[in-house]
């Protein structure tokens, strides 16, 4: 199993540009999550999904959108990038039977 994979590893965006951060898992997990990690702030939940076709907002959803058309994939969309979205983004997944979340390696995003 590859576990949770994320692409790209690093990206530089200009203000106002849009992009999609990709996340995929091959563990057949129903639950998937997007977090952002800022220095000294820990991780904050952006969006999560409990299964294909079902998504919900977390603590900091503004400026982001998600979709979940398949069990495996959970992309995160930034429509109009802002400097405040400079962060490291982590995707995670878990089964419905346990609380343990498995994290991907992260995507570092710099908005200039």
């Amino acid at each position: 199993n590859a576990g949770v994979t994320q692409t790209p590893k690093f990206r530089i965006l200009k203000i106002g540009q849009s992009m999609t951060l990709q996340c995929a898992q091959d563990m057949n997990h129903n639950y998937m999550y997007w977090y952002r990690q800022d220095p000294g702030m820990g991780l904050k939940l952006i969006y999560y999904s409990v299964g294909a076709g079902i998504t919900d907002k977390g603590e900091v959803p503004n400026g982001y959108n998600v979709s979940r058309s398949t069990t495996e994939d959970f992309p995160l969309r930034l429509e109009l990038a802002a400097p405040s979205q400079t962060s490291v983004y982590f995707c995670a997944s878990r089964t419905g039977l346990a609380e343990t979340q498995y994290f991907g390696p992260g995507t570092r995003l710099l908005v200039l």
Partner: protein, 111 residues
Amino acid sequence: QQQVKQSPQSLIVQKGGISIINCAYENTAFDYFPWYQQFPGKGPALLIAIRPDVSEKKEGRFTISFNKSAKQFSLHIMDSQPGDSATYFCAATAGANNLFFGTGTRLTVIP
């Protein structure tokens, strides 16, 4: 508002020493308290977790102490090793979907 408060922000320990990281919470609905370990450039990985019906859980050199009445829990790393140098996050959740993380502790173990 930080749901889980973590201290210290950074910690330096000699090899063989005990590392102690503390966390506190307010929401009594929290029912699962994991600790995650993160190495530079990597995603967090579950280290150990506890539920509020026990006061202590030990796995190897890692122990969680849980004080339900004080709404505090802590991670103890015994016989700390240079390979333990990483950032540690406590977290808490009620129902497992919204995991609230502490702000992290950067641990450095000096050989």
